[in-house]
């Protein structure tokens, strides 16, 4: 079959095998020929080629809940369980996931392998900081338990390890108690990037914080943005406040012609959005679904970029140079006549100890670009700006970074391959991305 990531670029031919349980997973992993490489694939929500290989092991049927301890606030489940399913089960009990990415369609295994983050990274860290234990199937077929105290090295390599150390079978997660399913949102308009940074710093104690940016505004307006701050609504502890609702979504049925997304249409969208936000009320109460997952309302929105797909470019720059670095990036993009439809800026808290995790203290900017030949030289130039500012790119979104850029920006890569060599000496777990980045051959 033809396989691709969420960005629909690149595409590759692959065999997808979906084991019904851990036993059949073991058979697949252990019986595999030494020459063939495989990689786990959860919900297919990483953007680039990190879940592409000759053989894909899908976790769709490893979707069982194993135990929920309401007192200890922990949940144990299979790697294929989607975050949305967890919310469905936990919310009525007043429990919630401490870290949520921008979609609830990702699997637990994928969230751990990419060590995903959310709008509260500056306060609560990334997804894996709330993972208590994982059961990892190694290339030998052996299942080992890893945690901060047990097989610690392997745990640090596997959290954020892009599935390269083995296949995650099960995990135990820490949950958080929430008063209700509503979020009180406050929005602050910033007329330029500097103002946006100031707003973010002023509100650093806010639980959730993320800024939408008009990437196409230039000159004095460059970086005009809206900062969204969120806090849990103090509910009246009514049962209805914790009800889970399945929201209907509209699906994009096919790839729309990519010329519809051009500079004028993006500019129109971005400036209309900005002016609407500017005049809208500054505080509102939103359901968690609308607050955390606005894009889930439009399923298959990735088709809007046309059949050639798109590339998401997310980088982080450490604090001091971030404002200057992000300004340089935005200038470069507008000089090249390119634009990003959705641009998001967020502040990160401290990095964790995981070897290949993306977040580190500083600011992260996310841009998405329609896939076209002229884009790649621009992204190479952006890579250089990122490296100059001691930043790095997010592996879950990357589809084209060079080996040199990766190794220069992820200093723990050597420690990572030392651990990988111990558990997977023949590189059975390898993706197109890991080959490109020189983590596997």
């Amino acid at each position: 079959m033809e396989a691709m990531g969420w960005g629909r670029y690149p595409k590759a031919t692959a065999d997808l095998i979906e084991p019904a349980d851990a036993q059949s997973l073991q058979k697949i992993v252990a019986s595999q020929k030494k020459s063939a490489s495989c990689i786990s694939r959860g919900a297919g929500r990483s953007y680039g080629d990190s879940a592409l290989a000759g053989q894909l092991i899908g976790s769709r049927f490893l979707d069982s809940f194993l135990a929920l301890d309401e007192q200890q606030q922990t949940l144990r489940c299979g790697a294929g369980v989607k975050l949305g399913d967890i919310l469905k089960v936990c919310l009525p009990r007043g429990l919630f996931l401490p870290v949520l990415p921008g979609t609830k369609a990702v699997s637990v295994g994928g969230a751990i392998a990419a060590d995903v983050h959310g709008k509260n990274h500056h306060r609560d860290g990334s997804f894996c900081q709330h993972v208590i234990q994982i059961s990892l199937m190694l290339a030998s077929g052996e299942v080992v338990s890893c945690s901060a105290t047990q097989n610690q090295e392997l745990f640090r390599a596997s959290c954020g390890g892009m599935g390269l150390t083995g296949a995650i079978v099960e995990a135990t997660l820490r949950l958080a108690a929430v008063p209700s399913r509503y979020i009180d949102q406050r929005s602050l308009v910033a007329n330029n990037l500097q103002e946006c940074f100031a707003h973010i710093e002023d509100n650093a104690d806010s639980k959730y914080s993320v800024a939408w940016l008009d990437c196409l505004a230039t000159g004095d307006d460059m970086g005009r943005s809206v900062l969204y701050l969120g806090e849990y609504s103090k509910g009246k502890n009514r049962k209805s406040d914790r009800k889970y609702q399945d929201r209907s979504s509209i699906s994009v049925p096919f790839s729309t012609p990519s010329f519809l997304l051009n500079k004028s249409s993006m500019s129109l969208f971005n400036s209309t959005y900005f002016s609407l936000q500017k005049h809208k009320s500054r505080t509102s109460r939103l359901d968690y679904d609308n607050y955390f997952f606005p894009l889930d309302r439009l399923s298959n929105w990735n088709r809007l970029y046309g059949s050639k797909g798109f590339l998401q470019y997310q980088f982080v720059l450490p604090g001091e140079g971030a404002l200057e670095g992000i300004t340089t990036v935005l200038e470069k993009i507008s000089k090249q006549g390119k634009g990003s439809f959705l641009t998001v800026l967020k502040k990160f808290g401290e990095a964790n100890e995981n070897l290949l995790s993306f977040p580190r203290s500083g600011y992260t900017l996310t841009l998405d670009f329609k896939n076209e030949t002229s884009l790649f030289p621009l992204l190479d130039e952006l890579d250089r700006i990122v490296l100059d500012h001691d930043g790095r790119l997010y592996l879950a979104k990357d589809a084209r970074m060079s080996e040199a850029v990766f190794k220069a920006s992820y200093p723990n890569w050597e420690a990572f391959i030392t651990i990988k060599a111990k558990v997977d000496p023949h590189n059975r777990f390898a993706s197109l991305q890991s080959n490109r980045l020189g983590l596997t051959t």
């Binding site: 979906e18 019904a20 349980d21 049927f61 069982s64 809940f65 135990a67 089960v89 009525p92």
Partner: protein, 244 residues
Amino acid sequence: MKVLIIGATSAIAKATARIYAQQNCSLHLIARNGEQLEALRSDLLVRGAKTANSSVLDLNKFAEHGKLLGAAIEELGGVDIALICHGSLPDQEKVEISFKQAQKEINTNGLSVISLLTELAPTFIEQLGGTLAVISSVAGDRGRQPNFVYGAAKSLVSTYLQGLRGKLLTHNVHVIDIRPGLVDSPMTAQFPKGPLWASPEQVAQKIVKSIQRGSHTVYAPGYWRAIMFVVRIIPDFIFKRLKF
């Protein structure tokens, strides 16, 4: 609500059980693989099932059906819905040339269901209510070259249900025949998938809805009713030449 699910570890049964668990029903699960049953049991309890018990049984041991069902219903404290889901998808080329193989498949997909229904019916008649829901298949609608042994077993079930439905009508017991089309589950892992394939979750939603509504013959998803209508009206002199 008290729900008894037979063949509970099949993908469709699992997805259906999860919906009932979410609705805080009491469940009793029967299947062959004890380990998978145990995993499903804890899954359902986390999802909200009031109770979830299970018993292990190879459904081809017809003689044990009565005793086991009796014990299961007693443990459940009665039964509102009995859902029969088990089945196996044989390799047509193998069962065509071996009667022993064919017999085994017809036992699994056809006769074992008749045996279960025979044992279950008196309980439902006695309590004057409830629903007997059985998963057959669109394959039973007409004997097609690539899977007519499986199809024959499924049409045995469908025909039986048509009669049973009438028989139980006066006892206020409802009988539903659910005919799924192509379902993307571990049972069909070896087939290439296309746009007609449905997920087990889609089929499960349809099952729960039709049990609630009291439907009779249900195609899941619904477009299979139109497809199978066309398949049924093709004249034999053409149909015998079709290889699909």
